[in-house]
Subunit: 381 residues, 2 copies
């Protein structure tokens, strides 16, 4: 069985663990500063990193999107800042309590938990979740951490299959191997921090990240993971944070290469970009989430010719062509391979789906397409 | 541990198993009929059930949507029918082969597998997946089965957690308990037919079906399933067929009651309707998918008053108000409780989300809201 296979000995790295108490302490230091200002009868100031395009950079060194050095401050005695200042303090207090009480919360729950009418006024603390979400991001930046470590999370999405053993330290030390859960696999949690989810053992040569659930099911049915010593992770469209974090961790802790398998279209390329380089909105957290070494295995427009898939391409909509043109300027697509791929798509105005490989045969993707590409290292960078 | 708890002794029923060979045989009988007509030089005719509103009925007896007796035929020698006739035969042959070869396919793969250009013409077998999807439905009706038993499936979605032991007979006889997979739970497959997925043991008093993944995670974190002997199933919005089939099977085979927990709005009520009564589009398959005994636990507009949630309701959009008005006419909402609930929503024009319960406290839903409602049987029918 899978467990008995000899594990590869990749460049495993120590897991960096930061305790909830340590994170709570960071939040408290920030809050203590504010309290100190108040006691000195100064105008309390909350400082965080500036967001938005003007402060997002592509680090040529790390090969990921990062946030620049620009900061932004909010003064409580500025009438334009006062409400947001209050909101940020409310969120900070809440997350501090979550950490000490060993609770986690979805960002929607945070909004609902904090929403109330102030005193006898008709003024609500929050009108909309976008307001509390913004405070969460401010807090992440201010205390230099990610929301997962503040015990916050968004919705989960994504599935894991393959010879990887996880331990949930916060749930009876459950230990399970994701190749032994039938064909369904493990439903990836919204938070998979190393303090809670331990990657105990991995016996695989690489991680294959797959855009569609249906292709994931195809590869499971074909026994692909076992035959090829692969870990399969489906994102079900754009990858949720929990899924990105898990891919990042397997890559970093176990030293496994990551290959991305998406539809050959702007949406697929964007999914790849986000897993690889991080996203504009989360540029500050690339160190926790991005996998700059990830490679793109397909679908490509070369595949259409190489495998005779001309009959099963789809036309690109105008919006897709426009997005493909924008992608020509992305820093991580500044190489001959991607420029050629994008230009080909723009000229031909076609896209190709993963499942179009079924036109050859159902098992073609598992028996030929993927193994050959991986063997020959036919990747886009 | 959960396994050692005394299992309830509900009215367990024998599992009806239909082998792939038996289904393949049904398809072959249909095809043999066509071949016989051709050999007799007759115009080949394919007959299936008529779909659409005009042939959908609400069975007062079974309390589910069903398809009426009207049939529709397609003659190969009718130029308006010929292409669809050919398409249907292609799909029938394909599924027959899947069954004999022990393969399954997504409905998108079927489309891609069968799409090609005919001979030297410029005519494609299929232009669009809607064409092959329609043939699949025709075939299901014609041979009186569901696509899952034809080895076809759509995308999976949904997660399972709780003291339920499943065995995947087609995957090394994997046996696992969905309460022991950490907090992530089991990712429900797109097909969970009894021939392949055995429900080996359930130690629980009821099934709680939950609309949002985030509420599911909340209940898992609160230890709700163990404390209350509940099986938790999240649908992540509208329930996928695999999830509906699993809920149906646990209910039918294990005799467990099913409670639905959705947002209090037309979308939530629709999710409830589909799980309970089946859907218009799949009216022929209610016997495989519907749970007419399911009860609605919340959210209700009474909850808003009972638990002081006035601050955290949301306004209904005009489209939602319109849908709520339409729901007044649904056969299964023809009772005082639902009429009152719907009218209240229409008058107040508000909706209430599951996560709004966080306004009381994060654990309120698990410690008070759900246990009290279940104890007092405060359900909508």
């Amino acid at each position: 069985m899978a467990d008995k296979k000899k594990a590869k000995a990749p460049a495993k790295k120590a897991v960096e663990v930061e305790s909830p108490e340590a994170i709570a302490h960071k939040v408290k230091i920030m809050a203590d500063g504010i309290v100190g200002q108040i006691k000195k009868q100064e105008d309390p100031i909350f400082t965080t990193q500036q967001r938005g395009r003007s402060n997002v950079e592509f680090s040529e060194d790390k090969k990921v999107l990062t946030l620049g050095d620009k900061t932004t401050s909010r003064n409580f005695l500025n009438i334009g800042h006062a409400k947001k200042f209050m909101q940020t303090m409310m969120v900070a207090e809440k997350t501090h309590n979550y950490l000490l009480e060993n609770k986690t919360a979805s960002i929607r729950e945070v909004y609902y938990e904090l929403k109330h009418t102030l005193g006898k006024s008709k003024e609500n603390t929050f009108e909309d979740q976008t307001e509390s979400d913004a405070c969460i991001v401010d807090l992440e930046h201010s205390v230099d951490t990610i929301r997962e470590k503040l015990n916050l999370h968004a919705n989960p999405k994504g599935t894991l299959y393959g010879d990887i053993t996880l331990v949930d330290r916060k749930h009876n030390e459950d230990e399970f191997n994701a190749a032994k859960l039938g064909r369904g696999g493990w439903s990836i949690m919204s938070r998979v921090e190393p303090e809670e989810i331990e990657i105990k053992k991995v016996s695989a040569d690489y991680v294959l990240v797959i855009e569609t659930e249906a292709m994931y099911e195809r590869l499971v049915e074909e026994g692909f993971a076992k035959k090829n010593k692969a870990i399969l992770i489906s994102t079900g469209g754009q990858a949720a944070r929990g899924t990105r974090r898990l891919v990042h961790r397997i890559h970093k802790e176990q030293g496994l290469p990551v290959y991305m398998f998406t539809d050959g279209d702007p949406y697929g390329w964007y999914i790849y970009s986000v897993v690889k380089q991080g996203s504009m909105a989360l540029a500050a957290h690339s160190d926790f989430l991005a996998v700059p070494d990830a490679k793109y295995i397909g679908m490509t427009l070369e595949d259409v010719e190489d495998f005779g898939l001309q009959n099963v391409t789809e036309k690109m909509k105008e919006g897709d062509v426009k997005r493909a043109k924008e992608m020509l300027d992305y820093p991580w697509f500044q190489n001959n391979e991607w420029q050629a791929e994008l230009k080909k798509a723009i000229n031909l105005k076609i896209r190709i789906e993963q499942q179009a490989l079924a036109n050859r045969s159902l098992s073609f993707v598992a028996d030929e397409y993927l193994p050959k590409k991986i063997k020959k290292k036919e990747f886009l960078p």
